[in-house]
């Protein structure tokens, strides 16, 4: 098996794929979004619950997708829950930048935690979308929650 492949399907990715954290749809929630990747048919339904001072109280989800996208959802949920929104933005920005860098930008483990394990996908343009899809869903849910809360 060639090297880039094992950089993609790392142990951490496979572990999250198999035993995804925080999976399932839970109540209560402030916003729910449904995203589809029309090319591959992957789907994610994501619910966001915000507390006082925009603290993420819960992120729950149901995801149909490849190992990369399922692992990404699991790692994301674990990163988000219990943190204030303003702390999350830099993480999200950094992940997106690293994913779109075609492997030129090394990931910052402080920011990304387990998320660095996803960066192998940055060298596979077709897979970048898979990793970013849960994050897009979170961003959309945040916009919606804020609109409803306003």
């Amino acid at each position: 098996m060639s090297n880039p492949l094992s950089s993609l399907y790392t142990e951490i990715v496979m572990e999250h794929d198999k035993r995804p954290l925080h999976a399932g749809l839970r109540e209560p929630f402030d916003a729910e979004v449904h995203h589809v990747n029309p090319t591959c048919g992957d789907e994610i339904t994501l619910r966001l619950r915000l507390g006082a001072d925009e603290l993420v109280q819960d992120v729950s989800y149901e995801a149909v997708g490849c190992a990369m996208s399922r692992a990404s959802a699991s790692i994301m949920a674990d990163l988000l829950i219990g943190r204030p929104v303003h702390e999350i933005q830099p993480v999200s920005d950094h992940l997106e930048a690293a994913m779109r860098s075609r492997g030129r930008l090394a990931g910052d483990e402080e920011l990304l935690g387990d998320g660095v394990a996803l960066l192998g996908a940055a060298k596979f343009p077709a897979r970048v979308k898979c990793v970013l899809m849960p994050w897009k869903a979170y961003q959309a849910a945040l916009v919606e929650a804020r609109t409803l809360g306003a």
Binding site: S2, M14, C40
Partner: protein, 425 residues
């Protein structure tokens, strides 16, 4: 038992395709098993287009100068070659479009133009019914959904049976006096199933409905004859039959085309133009608005010539043999579920499969690391996948240049994919 010698000189054929020399990385030669998405081009097709561009390129049908005459001749000669390849009784029945997709949209839009001077059997109106099948590519489904929406007609569909063929049990109730159009694929791009066209043509005729055949996946792989098939319209794409992108064909019976309103309008499709009104040219010009894909027509004709020289029966036999080999190898692997009929005469070369629920993206990724380029996802046939409870499949499709050992590599690759993910969990 010795396998019969292929009438194909596979080595010579492979030498015609420059891209096959490419390596994906220094260690990985290309095994292209995605001809179902788009085919590769033989040197003969590329050369024909370049020769045209460097010698005869000019606007067609509009000029009186010698270059324009040469270009017009090349374009119209291409139409004749394509007509002959498809079995069209006359080149005037061959409309050059952008793709299968545009060809099918053309028919759907023209039938729904709302023009009241058009004969009834060429109009779809509120209350009418359009019949499709559950195995259609989106290109032969969504335009009919849109036609139904615009006109108030009803869309109905023939279901797919467990054995991956059309379930004709309720055909008699699906085809009614209100059915105006039956649109179906000739060969499923996912299942490899060849549909019973004759049976459906008969059903359509019994109620005076039109038949529209999507031949995007059949024309490159078997001998086709639109006249013998008895359909009213048929569509193909250049890029799936070793020709260029940017060109497709709509074939239609002349008497239909002659009575149908245009779809795209503009230059070259008119008879006279005043500021407030226009009249339109005879077919095929009526349906070819604007500057057509000229060099692409020359390229597509070269592709037809290439296939004709190989012989479509030989092409079909070669690919049937590969399909059989793939089915045999894949079904022997534990965890592989082939989504398509078992081997048989109506079973052709698109071999899609599910791998123990493993997401096709992941399967495709491992195969790609081995140089095996297959397609993953719903292959623009989402309802068909839903029918079988799947989000997607992995599909291998075969071409004139595919070798038995490439098929063996696929089989071995699938086995390794299972091992790979097994070892990780």
């Amino acid at each position: 038992m010795s396998t019969p010698r292929s009438p194909f000189d596979l080595e010579a054929i492979r030498a015609d395709f420059p891209i096959l020399e490419r390596r994906l990385d220094p260690e990985t030669p290309l095994i292209y098993l995605d001809g179902g998405a788009t085919s590769q081009r033989p040197r003969q097709v590329i050369d024909a287009e370049v020769a045209f561009l460097t010698r005869d390129n000019a606007a067609v049908k509009r000029g009186a100068h010698r270059l324009a005459s040469a270009a017009t001749d090349a374009y119209e000669d291409a139409r004749e070659t394509i007509a002959a390849f498809l079995g069209a009784p006359s080149p005037d029945e061959v409309v050059i479009t952008r793709s299968t997709t545009e060809a099918l949209n053309l028919v759907a839009h023209s039938l729904g133009s709302g023009d009241e001077t058009v004969p009834d059997h060429l109009r779809v109106r509120a209350g009418d019914e359009i019949l499709v099948t559950e195995m259609e590519h989106h290109a032969n489904l969504v335009p009919w959904q849109e036609l139904a929406r615009r006109t108030g007609a009803t869309l109905r569909w023939i279901p797919v049976a467990e054995d991956f063929t059309l379930d004709l049990t309720d055909l008699d109730s699906l085809v009614t006096d209100r059915t105006r159009v039956i649109a179906l694929t000739h060969q499923s791009n996912v299942l490899g199933t060849v549909t019973p066209v004759e049976r459906l043509v008969e059903a359509a005729r019994s109620v005076g409905a039109l038949t529209v055949l999507d031949m995007a996946q059949s024309a490159p792989h078997m001998s086709v004859d639109v006249a013998a098939l008895g359909v009213d319209f048929a569509a193909v794409s250049g890029h799936k039959m070793y020709g260029p992108t940017g060109i497709g064909i709509l074939w239609g019976r002349y008497e239909h085309l002659a009575a149908m309103p245009p779809f795209l309008t503009g230059g070259s499709m008119i008879e006279t133009v005043h500021m407030d009104r226009s009249t339109y040219a005879e077919p095929p010009a009526r349906f070819e608005a604007g500057t057509p894909p000229i060099s692409q027509a020359v390229g597509l004709a070269a592709a037809c010539d290439y296939l004709t020289a190989l012989g479509m029966d030989a092409v079909a036999a070669h690919e049937q043999e590969l399909t059989r080999r793939a089915l045999r190898g894949l079904t022997a692997i534990d965890g592989v579920r082939v989504i398509g009929p078992a081997d048989g005469p109506e079973r052709r070369g698109a071999v899609s499969f599910d791998l123990a629920g493993r997401h096709p993206h992941d399967v495709g990724q491992v195969l790609d690391s081995l140089g095996i380029e297959v397609r993953v996802g719903h292959h623009c046939a989402w309802p068909l996948h839903r029918r079988f409870g799947l989000h997607g499949t992995t599909r291998a499709s075969f071409s004139v240049h595919t070798t038995p050992s490439e098929v063996d590599a696929l089989i071995a690759g699938v086995a390794r994919t299972i091992d790979f993910f097994g070892s990780l969990s």
